[in-house]
């Protein structure tokens, strides 16, 4: 087995996370392309699979992924042949968002971005849990058990 070293490293990292008490994952998704959305959704759903609490805060271009139109456009970042390869391996962004939601990932929309883009809650897909500002996000993310990543 050549994967023993990687396995050892991963379990050390997880052990470390346990000691530090990292039990929540807070992702900020600031980009609207599927190349950013897939890794975000994979991390968030995997965190749920590992029993962690998972949140995604969609902001700026990331908010496009919370509209039906923006989701369709998100795949344009990939050339057609790559779109096919992704479709063979992963669900669509729309289906993946739905799965994430079913798995218990919390979906937060950014309030100032909605103002900027002239969006209302009626324009957003129904997976959105709430519309929050930076202070509320920081209040969540400042928890000592939180691991935060900006994408």
């Amino acid at each position: 087995m050549t994967t023993g070293v990687a396995a050892g490293r991963a379990s050390e990292t997880i052990e470390h996370a346990k000691q530090e008490g990292k039990k929540s994952l807070f992702l900020v998704l600031s980009k609207g392309g599927a190349d950013m959305a897939y890794p975000t959704l994979i991390l968030a759903t995997t965190a749920r699979a590992l029993g962690m609490d998972a949140h995604i805060y969609f902001t700026f271009w990331g908010m496009q992924l919370l509209t039906s139109e923006g989701r369709k456009k998100s795949m344009d970042v990939f050339p057609p042949e790559m779109q096919k390869a992704i479709a063979a391996k992963f669900p669509t962004i729309e289906a993946f968002m739905h799965q994430a939601k079913e798995a218990g990932v919390h979906i937060h929309a950014c309030s100032p971005t909605m103002d900027m883009f002239g969006l209302t809650k009626a324009n957003l897909v129904n997976e959105v849990d709430d519309v929050i500002g930076a202070s509320t996000y920081l209040e969540f993310a400042a928890r000592p058990d939180a691991l935060t990543l900006f994408i």
Binding site: M1, A6, A7, A10, S11, I14, K18, T45, A49, G51
Partner: protein, 60 residues
């Protein structure tokens, strides 16, 4: 996404029941070790043969 599928399936089992998973993702061995550590479901088997990875998880 073997971990996601495995995590959904194992929740449908009861204590002591086993789940066999076959995967082609080279990252799966370390992912399953991490999954087992984090969730407490023991990983009873972890083997590779001809590019196919086989895992057996036992519901805790």
């Amino acid at each position: 996404m073997p971990i996601l599928k495995a995590s959904q399936m194992i929740e449908t089992l009861h204590t002591g029941q086993k789940l066999e998973v076959l995967a082609d993702d080279p990252a799966a061995p370390s992912d399953f070790v991490a999954f087992s550590k984090r969730t407490g479901h023991p990983l009873r088997e972890n083997a590779e043969s001809g590019g196919t990875y086989r895992f057996v998880l036992e519901h805790k």
